[in-house]
């Protein structure tokens, strides 16, 4: 019995590895299968889809998806390799909600990831819109928000810099009735705010029993002129823990004194910042040559005066 199970396990393992091998060969060529990790497949929307959500989804779809996938049901998607496919077809509709959500969120190959451009609410709205083309679809709404673990509590995130400045320590707690309970097992992320987006600092962490997580700071992280960086902490799973976020300033970066790119004298700079030698040689050259030209022109005056003088003399003599 035991050995049988072992064998079957081995067999299954082998078949899986064969399958993986086959996929490795096949995926780059035809790229048919797109497997979503098992723990993400069952993800569900926290709200029920309705007309207004589908309408919002339509707009988001037109902005982000239409250019490749075309209008659902029309089959007018772009002829790419692999083909993006029509979302109304059975091939896409047979995905579970969580699978569609995951694929939009993460992207693969030519399909871009939307996790930085769309909120999870937005993505669910797009799922709602796609599902509106499936008459047989019945939605299952996520039964209960897990943050019920801390019902009615205020989620507080604190950030502080470790003594050696090599890490940021995050503490997440739930506060209710003046009592503070650590939030345990929550996925958290820390970002540095940059001009056009959020730069992740270290990887995603799970809060420990004390509700703490530690993020390493790379030694070459650049801050402003005083070394300050603006950081932002968030939950990975916002459906679970809500959108609580913490924005603060930490003196965790290198001091960066911005240098103007036009401060030096150069051939390409403005007249005021022209190299000295060129200002001097041009200026002196012009003054010298034109000085002589004026001297020569003044000689015409001398010629005229002599002529006038001589004429007068001649007249007097005559």
């Amino acid at each position: 019995m035991k050995s049988n199970r072992k064998r079957s396990v081995r067999f299954r393992r082998r078949s899986i590895s064969l399958l993986v091998l086959a996929l490795l060969v096949v995926v780059p060529v035809i790229s048919q299968e797109w497997l979503v990790p098992a723990d993400r497949q069952g993800r569900l929307s926290t709200f029920a889809f309705n007309d207004s959500i589908e309408k919002a989804g339509l707009q988001l779809y037109n902005l982000n998806c239409l250019s490749c996938h075309g209008n659902p049901g029309k089959g007018n998607y772009q002829q790419l390799i692999p083909p993006p496919g029509d979302p109304a077809t059975e091939k896409i509709q047979r995905n579970r909600d969580g699978e569609i959500f995951f694929k939009i969120m993460e992207g693969r190959g030519q399909m871009p990831s939307f996790k930085n451009t769309l909120s999870s609410g937005d993505i669910w709205a797009i799922v709602a819109y796609i599902r509106s083309f499936n008459s047989g679809y019945v939605q299952t709404v996520m039964p209960e928000i897990t943050s019920g673990a801390y019902p009615g509590a205020l989620i507080a995130i604190t950030l502080r810099l470790a003594a050696e400045k090599e890490s940021v320590i995050m503490k997440v707690s739930a506060i209710r009735d003046n009592t503070s309970v650590p939030v345990v097992g929550a996925g958290v992320k820390l970002f540095v705010k940059r001009t056009f987006g959020l730069l992740p600092l270290d990887e995603e962490k799970i809060t420990d029993d004390n509700g703490m997580a530690t993020f390493g700071i790379p030694p070459d992280l650049r801050g402003d002129t005083t070394g300050n960086i603006r950081v932002s902490a968030r939950f990975t799973d916002e459906e679970k823990f809500g959108t609580a976020a913490k924005d603060t300033v930490l003196q965790a970066g290198l001091k960066v004194i911005p240098v103007s790119l036009v401060k030096d004298r150069a051939m390409w700079n403005t007249l005021r910042k022209a190299p000295w030698w060129i200002l001097l040689s041009y200026g002196l050259g012009v003054i010298l040559v034109w000085g002589f030209i004026i001297v020569v022109m003044l000689k015409l005056r001398d010629i005229f005066i002599i002529g006038e003088f001589t004429e007068k003399e001649n007249k007097r003599e005559a």
Binding site: S67, S113, N116, T117, T195, R222, T310
Partner: protein, 324 residues
């Protein structure tokens, strides 16, 4: 004979004296007119200084809700439309503390040409007038062909700016090379000097000239475009001023472009909005710049076209498509 010589000599000294006298007279006159010129110049300089000090930030008077008249900086008023003077001033100065940088990932470009369309619609250009163009490149027979988007490289040693006779094209403190089409005389020396063929000229009336006629000229958008002047990629300076990514960068459907601030060592992908470390991105992908041997020091970096996830030949345009 001797008498004549003497007479000549006497005459010559007379002439010398006359010349001397007239010279003194001339110098006196020259001195007076010189002084006049100098005082005139001083007056002009003083006037210029006054104008300049007046120009230091515009102020407006506003009525507060509690009926107080206060003077505040014009830029702080909501809905404030800067005038030409202000647009020119801030456009020439650039954004302090920034060093813009663009990364183009050649492994992702499949010539969708969405960047070009977005650029042309923002800057009011015809389909064949380019601030940015995508080229089909192949270095040699045995090396692979690839698509290369080519905006202005915004060089730190820009040959085009060096040769401009009137300071119409210039580099700003944040690295952007702009063109002032209120100043450009249309000599096209910059076109001759640019090794990247990044500049264009308005040979005829620009496409939206009639509609844009009454618009205030924004040097950071180069709209309205003007006949007989140069136009070029501006790194979408008008968008950067609002902390938004350039038109081409946000329009790309394939995640080709990253854009950011070198001082922050971070760039953001225009498609996925993912922000990554600039130094790491370049290091891990073998980033390079175009024609480094020319010493132009571009602010645009390229990532080599390796591990492409699409079939180049299928996307490759036919030879005749390259010519409109």
């Amino acid at each position: 004979m001797g008498g004549k010589k003497n007479k000549n000599k006497a005459e010559n000294t007379d002439i010398q004296q006359t010349l001397e006298a007239s010279r003194r007279d001339f110098l006196k006159k020259a001195g007076i007119s010189g002084a006049a010129v100098l005082s005139g110049a001083a007056a002009v300089l003083a006037g210029y200084r006054h104008e300049k000090s007046k120009n230091k930030g515009e102020f407006v008077k506003v009525l507060t809700t509690d009926n107080k008249l206060v003077k505040i900086a014009a830029e702080e008023v909501e809905g404030y439309e800067p005038g030409l003077k202000e647009l020119q001033k801030r456009g020439r100065e650039g954004i302090p503390g920034k060093k813009w940088v663009m990364i183009i990932d050649l492994s992702k470009c499949r010539n969708a040409r969405k960047c070009i369309e977005a650029c042309q619609s923002a800057h009011h250009l015809r389909p064949y007038e380019y601030h940015i163009n995508t080229l089909v490149m192949q270095e040699s027979v045995n090396t692979p062909a690839y698509f290369m988007p080519k905006p202005c490289q915004h060089c730190d040693n820009p040959p085009c700016v060096s040769v401009c006779p009137v300071d119409a094209t210039f580099k700003r403190q944040d690295g952007v090379v702009l063109i002032d089409n209120e100043r450009c005389i249309g000599c096209r020396f910059c076109i001759a000097a640019c090794p990247y063929s990044a500049r264009m000229f308005h040979w005829e009336e620009p496409v939206n000239a009639q509609a844009d006629k009454d618009k205030e000229y924004d040097i950071e958008l180069n709209v309205p475009q003007k006949k007989g002047t140069i136009s070029k990629c501006l790194f979408s300076s008008d968008r950067l001023r609002e902390n938004q990514l350039p038109y081409c960068v946000s329009a790309c459907p394939n995640g080709v472009y990253y854009f950011g601030d070198e001082n922050e060592d971070a760039v953001t992908n225009g498609t996925t909005k993912e922000t990554v470390k600039l130094s790491e991105l370049l290091k891990q992908n073998g980033g390079y710049r175009l024609m480094p041997e020319l010493g132009t020091q571009p602010r645009v970096y390229y990532l080599p076209p390796k591990n492409r996830i699409f079939d180049f030949d299928q996307d490759k345009p036919r030879e005749e498509d390259l010519i409109i």
